[in-house]
Symmetry: C2
Subunit: 381 residues, 2 copies
Amino acid sequence: MNASKLISSRKDKTLFTPGPLTTSQTVKEAMLQDLGSRDVAFIETVRHIRQTLLAIAGVSKGEGNYEVVLMQGSGTFGIESVIGSTVSPAGKLLVVINGAYGVRIAKIAKTLKIDTVTLEYPTDATPLPADVDRMLTEDQAITNVAVVHCETTTGIINPIEEIGQVVKRHQKSYFLDSMSAFGAVLFDFEKCGIDFLVSSANKCIEGVPGFSFAICRRDSLRATEGWARSVSLDLLSQWQGLEANGQFRFTPPTHAILAFAQALCELQAEGGVEGRAGRYRGNHEALVTGMRELGFTEYLRPELQGTIITAFHYPVHSAFQFDEFYGRLNDKGFVIYSGKVSDLDCFRIGNIGRLFECDIHSLLAAIRATLSEMHIALPSN
Amino acid sequence: MNASKLISSRKDKTLFTPGPLTTSQTVKEAMLQDLGSRDVAFIETVRHIRQTLLAIAGVSKGEGNYEVVLMQGSGTFGIESVIGSTVSPAGKLLVVINGAYGVRIAKIAKTLKIDTVTLEYPTDATPLPADVDRMLTEDQAITNVAVVHCETTTGIINPIEEIGQVVKRHQKSYFLDSMSAFGAVLFDFEKCGIDFLVSSANKCIEGVPGFSFAICRRDSLRATEGWARSVSLDLLSQWQGLEANGQFRFTPPTHAILAFAQALCELQAEGGVEGRAGRYRGNHEALVTGMRELGFTEYLRPELQGTIITAFHYPVHSAFQFDEFYGRLNDKGFVIYSGKVSDLDCFRIGNIGRLFECDIHSLLAAIRATLSEMHIALPSN
């Protein structure tokens, strides 16, 4: 059976998910090349990527400043790399949780036998900096604090600057999982007091999946000598390798990296983080307006909602079955995402990737048609 | 700076390395597609890949049989996944070493705080099954044995069947790092008694880098419940996820997987493992014949040498500087590989990837020209 041929005969569906995303044709075409991992052109590409990521973060490289480490695997591999490499053997981690990705960080830490405590909130509420302050005051053993920037579970944006200032006042190490926010959410990296931030190639930068990256305060990174609990996911060694000769320690995903370099050019052409944030905001507003007109309601209160991904309640209608709704949209070429909110029935629609307002309108038309096919008439909001 | 454009204007160099490799245009073109990771077409591709890998290994899926697990990251990530997931907390690992990749396995195990012993040989000698037998008899605490199939350090092929039979007689778990051999070296999987084998997408199958795969004896895999020392690299959970719904637990490198499906089609079209082994053998023979004519000598005795990659001594000539030799070949569009043999000055030339005898002849012509440019005349062998 020729699986690849079977697939290639179809037109790509549009992906309204948190990843893998719809990417531009030019990003994908950048992969039509085999580069040696020790080739000067490849090494230059890696250097350029690392430099550009610092510029996007609004920080500089070097002594007293920041460094970028690229790491093979999905975003979760990057998260595990930072958690496993930056909490000392005698350290204790506080994970602030209001969704599935916070839960995952705690699970990673516990699997790595890291002493871990959590501060947990409902998925429709943001963490309170005062609670973090109280925890750090009461438990002096805590050395590291981890927070998720945009919880993809719901699309909520957490108060990373306020929490960061608390963490810094207590002189703890601050880790931000900015997986689905970095590149399209404006924030002041230094004011947040971030020691380590992780995001992935296949989120707001709109590359293809295959690696993640960590932006690290250099002093904090250098202090982690000997702490890594893994060879593959050793953050400091990976950085030292990149610094020594510009190379990955182990075979890099060269094609995904070439795609990412192209994606960074396209981010720049769109006006950087501000430009991209604007497009996603437009997508989000068109989506919410249209979905409300169709009778759907959002899971989050609007003031907590980011513009990356939006969770909607299942409509209250006896004929609504999510699997059928999903399948009919899929057949029309639109891929949405199921929910992950434990206590309520929700589904999610992503606004990121190579999507424009016209794509949102096409999706809305497909949802309207699908509801009609399912004989569901909803009261408009 | 537009890094990607800068690169795209050049013709691809031919890669005579152990990876990343030169791949076919059709393999790369399979990446011109964005598929959702929960899309039925993607799930079917993953299922097809897992099934085909079992067929290549000559084993079957299911109860009492074998299973395939795909794992994000480079080959080393796959190795760490097996080492970290399949040695019990009270287990002890014996690593048989005759090169850098054996050393790496031991390093991974020690970093994971696994009780580890080694059996070490010079890089130009194969391990003796009788030594493994003696170790397992003397140290009853050993539970797992790890061996490298083709040591990329030198290209040596180790006696995996003879060692496997010793390991099985002692009823220990047998792990084979077949990174650069699987898909182009014929062997009897069951007769070797392999419990876990790891290889990567970007070796003899000729896909692009981005993930590795483990072929696992199902009973051995199922016995590892609760042993994994990592979330990202948890082999059993990854398998359970793939079995439950056909999906990766974390965002898969969809494009690299589509390329791999195409690469498997092309392996089949070439006559499977036998056909590919034949092409690599032809490449290797043309290379060695030509290099001897130019005055080079191989590092290994011919009876130990595999057909994957070949190490050559630096020629004894005052004008020979490897960096210059490498750079001049690189400028001509031919990428070779530096040596990794600690005690001797060697370089390596790979025969794998989308390379044919005509490519070997082109390389030989370039080497001849380079020697002439460097004013090096070697006595022909």
